[in-house]
């Protein structure tokens, strides 16, 4: 069964450092997303991406965040200068099309900022 894969599974970084979280969405999907989940809290939308551009972003997704699809398979989330409060699980998701279809989630990357 096709799945969304994320690497690394766990990343520890020092405050102020840049991190790049990587995702390989399901190959025939067109819409890509990043969500985050702070420990013990609900899953929060960060950004959606379609046709090589951001289609929507939340208030959380400030200038420190960026996304990129550098090739035909990878979808990355970059945090330029990490803060302690960026510590969370980050989930990548993809969907086949625009109209209300199932979002497939990856297993997540646990980011710990120290």
């Amino acid at each position: 069964e096709p799945e969304v894969t994320q690497t690394p599974s766990h990343q520890v970084t020092q405050m102020g450092q840049e991190v790049i979280l990587r995702c390989v969405p399901i190959s025939n999907h067109l819409y890509f997303y990043w969500y985050r989940q702070i420990l013990g809290q609900k899953v929060e939308f960060l950004v959606s991406f379609y046709n090589n551009e951001i289609s929507e972003k939340s208030e959380i997704f400030d200038d420190q965040f960026s996304v990129e699809r550098p090739d035909g398979s990878n979808f990355t989330l970059k945090i330029r200068s990490t803060k302690l409060e960026d510590s969370a699980m980050y989930f990548c998701a993809s969907t086949p099309g625009q109209e209300n279809t199932e979002a497939f989630f990856g297993q997540g990357t646990r980011l710990t900022v120290v």
Partner: protein, 112 residues
């Protein structure tokens, strides 16, 4: 505003019983609703979805009920098993690019 916190409501059931998990959604314009299951350390796993033109949908051992009048969603799990123990999230979407707005989650604990 949205409420968040470290303590999830917990539903404890005996193995074999039926479970009902409830969710109140926020936006009357939402037209697509999904239930996700999340096990510890894993990503959300799709369980069942429903569109706003329906009020009930059944899957294997699961049923989702939608009451648009009171903006309420429920997930019924028949013959609950220990493997059903997880946190369950409802999510709503307003079409378009399928951004999902997640609810706070309910922890389901199944006891043998």
């Amino acid at each position: 505003g949205e409420s968040v916190g470290l303590h999830l409501p917990t539903l404890s059931v005996q193995e074999g019983d039926n479970s009902i998990i409830n969710c109140a959604y926020s936006n009357s314009a939402s037209d697509y609703f999904i239930w996700y299951k999340q096990e510890s350390g894993k990503g959300p796993q799709f369980i069942i979805d429903i569109r706003s033109n329906m009020d009930k949908r059944q899957g294997q051992r699961v049923t989702v009920l939608l009451n648009k009048t009171v903006k309420h969603l429920s997930l019924q799990i028949a013959a609950t098993q220990p493997g059903d123990s997880a946190v369950y999230f409802c999510a709503e979407s307003r079409g378009g690019y399928n951004k999902l707005i997640f609810g706070a989650g309910t922890r389901l604990a199944v006891h043998p």
